[in-house]
Symmetry: C2
Subunit: 338 residues, 2 copies
């Protein structure tokens, strides 16, 4: 998402996450007019954004780097939302635009719902295809299979989909979006409900993960990706900035080990940029941090410590194998990595 | 202090703590016109305020409850600063005033420097005597001796004063006031210096306290009181609200044990009201928390766990003894206490 909606939502009685406006799908059969095709689309993300980071991780795990190129927006938005200020001349080198909003405008003038990431853009026309953050990763896992790398994992296995969907729905409501409802609350009662819900769900997830390495089945699935993108931001931004401060992730033995296990798995930690994450939240949300000061903490050195989760068994990539090294030019600074 | 200065200071380039304007002293010889006298003065505090809490602790340790009565202000200030909203009819029952500022006005019309706690008020005239937060506790320890309880500790022993003063000066600059400079910073560079200074000093203090039970000598002194009032607020407010978030107090083994040891010592934890502390900081400082939302966390249950510091030896009250039970009507809610 954009978190632009954060500031817009701010001041409303209750934080409501906007539905994605553009819900076309890129599919193997091209039924929405957007067939899977190598080199045709560009994935636009921010490394700050948990919703976009799902797609960054999926693309790595599935080995879609060659088929689907990636544009990385500056973590700080302005009034026109996400910008390509990290690129030479402030323009995305493939799409040639300065603002992601230009691709939205090319699709539909004055698009409602704002400009958000993740977004998939059709390179030949420069038009936005979809900003449907709930569907994009599922389609990468199930529709883009012809372009997956050899050894790509099955992130959404057919026999487990009901269970994965159930877990993801709970995680979405209470955790992924729960931290935002807590953080953007303007009424104490609304905050209290959201924050209590975050920790109630985390306790349940901690119980679930005490004896099993991954959320569903014995391999990494889409459910793990979606929990990870919130957990990896927890102490860095949600604990203080969003006031989800009953305890730090590092204080929950099971979840902290689970998060470290994933962080140290190729395709997860090597996509995480703590600098982008911290600057985005603390500098963009003026409604909750008017000074824009970015905290020095927390100490990130623990992310690479041993986690002991191998003892629980599990086969991270199932019949497949881990992804290779990060594509040149897409490396992130080694925060906590040697 | 008031922390009123917090909002006033906010927007200035750099946070500067106001000097106390009224620096008369209540002494045994009455040289400033204010002789120590049982029942003559009223100590006005807020349990939220770390500077005032020093005096609350000293009064308990020294057994001055009968000699020096205490007024407790509402933790939430308004434009006229500290109010007696916790008392029947919103008036302090002894002074008969609604705002502490009335005692300031009685002393000097339109007093510069604002209204702050701790304050000592002369009951017969209703006039403020002193708001000198650095001197008040030293005078309770050294000038009010005739009224101390039997077994009162020597909180400022003559042979150790140089060392105590040196430690207190470092703790004041980097820790007591350092957290405020971090929290009220409006420039990143200013915040960074203050926050780094807080943790640099805490690391040094942690080294110092690893092998010795108290900061100076082998008994509790004024230096411990002054460090404690910041440490007890650390995770509840300074970590998140003031962005001092390299680590939580609970993550530093030595300081966390040291703070628990004091908290569990009669006269310390039984003066601490976490509800007042949290509501004050989060609701008063609109400049850094515009929503006024008060976080649910942190979990406070750890404050009563065993700390193991007895093994370091030390004689908490030296030749003296612990204070008796809290005076009726001055009990605080048992946050974390059984």
């Amino acid at each position: 998402m954009g978190d632009t909606e954060g500031n817009r939502a701010y001041g409303r009685k209750s934080f409501k996450r906007s539905k994605s406006h553009f819900t076309d799908r890129v599919t193997a059969d091209g039924r929405d007019g957007w067939p899977v095709e190598s080199g045709r689309y560009r994935l636009v993300v921010s490394r700050a954004c948990p919703w976009a980071s799902r797609a960054v991780i999926s693309r790595r795990l599935l080995g879609l780097e060659d088929a689907l190129s990636m544009a990385i927006a500056d973590p700080i938005q302005d009034d026109r939302s996400w910008r390509f200020r990290l690129d030479p001349g402030g323009r995305d080198p493939v799409l040639g635009i300065r603002y992601l909003g230009e691709a939205y405008e090319a699709r539909e003038p004055d698009p409602p719902g704002g400009v958000s990431v993740p977004a998939i853009v059709d390179v030949p026309t420069g038009r936005l295809v979809t900003n449907d953050y709930q569907q994009i990763t599922l389609d990468l896992a199930t529709e883009w299979t012809a372009l997956h790398r050899e050894g790509a994992p099955d992130l959404y296995p057919v026999p487990l989909r009901d269970e994965i969907d159930e877990v993801m729905a709970e995680v979405y409501e209470d955790v992924n979006n729960g931290v935002y409802r807590a953080g953007f609350a303007t009424e104490q009662v609304e905050y209290t409900a959201a924050c209590a819900g975050v920790f109630r769900r985390l306790e349940l997830l901690s119980d679930r993960l005490a004896e099993r390495r991954y959320l569903v089945g014995d391999t990494i699935t889409e459910a793990d990706i979606r929990l990870f993108t919130t957990l990896v931001r927890f102490d860095a931004v949600y604990h203080g900035h969003f006031k989800c401060n009953r305890w730090k992730l590092t204080e929950n033995q099971v979840l902290w080990a689970y998060a470290r296990d994933l962080y140290q798995t190729p395709g997860f930690g090597d996509t995480v940029d703590f600098d982008h994450i911290k600057r985005h939240y603390y500098q963009v949300h003026e409604g909750i941090n008017p000074t824009g000061i970015v905290p020095l903490g927390p100490d990130l050195s623990g992310w690479l410590t041993s986690h002991g989760r191998e003892e629980l068994g599990g086969r991270p990539f199932g019949e497949g194998s881990p992804p290779g090294p990060v594509r040149s030019g897409e490396e992130v600074p080694a925060a906590g990595r040697p």
